[in-house]
């Protein structure tokens, strides 16, 4: 029986959602200051309006939802998923006010794509947008990569024990440290350290490649954010093809692969446990599936004779596949070249890489390496059981920070989320096909959206049907939050309508 939520439930959800939106408003101060420094006065106003709107919502909910209660499990889930929607609606204001979006829906698409570190976009005339708006696009993806709840946990939640539920609701469940707020700060410590090193490396490379210092610094910072957060946004419409440099590609590969690792793995290495890098089930899973998909794509491209020599072929195949597998979405190809040069097998290999995706509790999306590892191990365990004597006790373990015995619960949970992802991939592919797009291209694009990758083969465009835009927004949201908190929000809304008081 569904119980209708009480006033206290609404108050606690409103209060914490408001806190997160205040966090979003404070984030906007960074692009605002960027535009002030670079004298982009119309963009400055866009951000003043947007910051004010976020603060009105945030303070308004604090005013209307005054409560001393802490978050319960279901509250945390609803806050996590609901706040992403509100943050998308309000975060879209700068995009829409810029005049570069065909509609408010398009602006929301881009912002959801940023928060969820997807990287698909509908913004038009990207090559003429302001530095402030470009800063906002990349900051969205950097903050979204860590999680906007993590942002709020770090700065705005003071000792709320129930905050852990909102953190879990955002698709992360690793406690790097005993306290969830310390965990959030540890995530930021890792991310900011990488930011300094990665952005510096890209800046220096950019200057060597012939960029002016200011542009090299900004491009370095933004491309780092796009790579580390596995977001895939880039400041120019040519994406990373713009740089025409093996050096730039290598630096971005290192950053995007690092960004796709589990924060628990980063923390283990950070605290001296370097062996984890070779023992961790997600690392093994990533190495196996990346190698396989690169092999398939390389074979198909070699057969088609697209590239002139083996080195060029490997460079192109590895970059796109690493980008797809880490769910980053950077590309050194024109979008349509996936269709016109890579062909069906290349498209399929990239789709598989995107579908599998990155590590759990990382900035990336997709089914995740740990689930692929768990399901593969469980399958092997079943085969061993089938061929062993009846009385033999067959157990299987995976190694993720520590050895974990594979129980039915772990396998069932991995299967459930995997099936949910596969269903979502299937739905987006079918809807695209129903709208007249080629099935393989629809599958590529749908998987790209739902796995938060952002590679495009040309289906995503400002002129695509509004229903597909809405579906992709939902797919990005569901994929990033890994379903549970969105289901909790759905249950909450249903109980408001159908529940008994």
């Amino acid at each position: 029986m569904l119980l209708r939520p009480r006033l206290e439930d609404h108050l606690v959800i409103g209060k914490y959602t408001g806190k997160i939106i205040i966090g979003v408003g404070l984030l906007m101060v960074v692009p605002l200051l960027t535009s002030v420094v670079l004298a982009e006065w119309d963009t400055v106003l866009d951000f003043v309006i947007s910051v004010a709107a976020c603060l009105i919502f945030g303070f308004g909910t604090q005013l209307l939802c005054r409560t001393e209660r802490d978050l319960s499990w279901s509250h945390g889930m609803v806050v996590a998923s609901g706040s992403w929607i509100v943050a998308t609606v309000l975060g879209a204001l700068p995009h829409w006010l810029s005049g570069h979006e065909g509609s408010y829906l398009d602006a929301m698409f881009d912002v959801m794509s940023g928060y969820t570190t997807t990287g698909l976009y509908l913004l038009q005339d990207l090559d003429h947008i302001s530095y402030g708006l470009n800063m906002w696009r990349h900051l969205l993806t950097y903050a979204g990569g860590q999680g906007i709840v993590v942002v709020a946990l770090t700065f705005l939640f003071k000792g709320a024990a129930g905050a852990y539920t909102a953190y879990v609701g955002e698709g992360k469940d690793e406690r790097l440290l005993p306290n969830v707020i310390q965990t959030a700060r540890a995530i930021w410590l890792v991310s900011l350290t990488w930011l300094v090193v990665g952005a510096a490396a890209l800046t220096i490379t950019g200057m060597v490649l012939g960029q002016e210092p200011l542009r090299a610094v900004l491009h370095g910072l933004w491309v780092f954010m796009g790579a580390w957060s596995t977001g895939g946004f880039a400041p120019q419409s040519y994406n990373t093809l713009y740089y025409h440099s093996l050096g730039y590609e290598l630096v971005t590969i290192v950053i995007m692969i690092a960004g796709s690792f589990n924060f628990a793995l980063h923390w283990a290495v950070w605290t001296g446990n370097r062996k984890e890098l070779v023992k961790n089930v997600e690392m093994i899973s990533f190495a196996v599936t990346l190698s396989l998909t690169v092999l398939i794509a390389t074979f198909a491209l070699a057969k088609a004779g697209v590239y002139p020599d083996a080195m060029t072929l490997f460079r192109k195949a590895f970059y796109q596949l690493a980008s797809g597998h880490t769910t980053t979405g950077f590309s050194t190809l024109y979008s349509r070249a996936f269709v016109t040069q890579w062909g069906p097998i290349g498209l399929m290999a990239t789709t598989i890489a995107m579908a599998v995706g990155a590590s759990a509790c990382s900035t990336g999306g997709g089914i995740k390496g740990i689930r692929v590892g768990v399901i593969s191990k469980a399958l092997l365990q079943d085969i061993r059981r089938a061929v062993s004597p009846e009385r033999a006790v067959i157990t299987a373990k995976i190694h993720h920070i520590k050895d974990v015995v594979l129980g039915d619960g772990v396998v069932r949970s991995a299967m459930f989320i995997t099936i949910a992802y596969l269903s979502l991939y299937g739905l987006t592919a079918i809807v695209g096909t129903l709208y007249g797009y080629d099935f393989l291209q629809s599958a590529f694009e749908g998987v790209s959206a739902a796995s938060n990758t952002g590679l495009s083969c040309g289906v995503t465009s400002p002129s695509m049907p509004a229903v597909m835009k809405v579906l992709y927004i939902l797919a990005m949201w569901l994929g990033r939050l890994e379903f549970m908190s969105v289901f909790a929000l759905g249950g909450h809304l249903l109980s408001m309508v159908r529940g008994r008081g």
Binding site: E40, R66, E68, Q124, D127, H128, L241, V497
Partner: protein, 194 residues
């Protein structure tokens, strides 16, 4: 049968879906590409044009990235090559163009590169199109022999809109007011009175 509240919720959801699909800038007829083949055609039919001579006109965007005696340029032949969105161009889809590899000396002719504050020079280059350039890691590019100026670009002034000033002031005042009220009332929880 749906309850009244459910019907209201459905109506609001439908409205919420409809409203955002309306634009703040109407879509019009976008400027067509001046090129045949255009950048879009080259990407769609790379095999047909691979190794052929092409002339390509468009706006130079970003910067010239010099690599020794040579340089990279990015030339867009998209709907914004004559006028960009900041100047009031109709929205016409994504940017599109071609990467061009040429003698660095030729880039000295360029005055403006397209970005937020500039509409870049429109230039014409002539050279060979490569679907997967063997010299440049398989990138799709044009190796240009010549560069001619078609139209010098200009500084773009995106005017500050008065209505934005009014909204910025109004909303900032409201935010400050709500913030002050929140601070004053934070020690008085609503549910504590119940």
């Amino acid at each position: 049968m749906m309850s009244r509240s459910a019907r209201v919720a459905c109506a609001l959801a439908a409205l919420a879906l409809l409203v955002p699909t309306t634009g703040c800038r109407a879509e019009g007829t976008p400027e067509p590409s001046p090129n045949d083949p255009s950048s879009m055609t080259l990407v769609e039919q790379p095999k047909e044009y691979d190794g052929t001579d092409v002339t390509f006109i468009g706006e130079v965007v970003g910067e010239a990235m010099k690599r020794g005696d040579m340089a990279w340029l990015h030339i867009n032949d998209d709907p914004y090559y004559l006028m960009n969105v900041e100047e009031g161009a109709q929205l016409g889809g994504y940017n599109s163009g071609m990467a061009v590899w040429l003698d660095a000396e030729l880039t000295e002719k360029i005055t403006y590169y397209g970005d937020y504050k500039h509409e870049g020079d429109v230039v014409e280059v002539a050279g060979v199109f490569n679907a997967a350039c063997p010299e440049h890691g398989g990138d799709m590019d044009i190796h240009a022999r010549s560069l001619e100026m078609v139209r010098v670009g200009h500084v773009v002034i995106d005017p500050v809109h008065p209505w934005k000033i009014a909204w910025a002031i109004g909303l900032s005042l409201v935010a400050a007011g709500v913030g002050a009220l929140t601070r004053l009332s934070r020690d008085h929880p609503i549910d504590a009175r119940r």
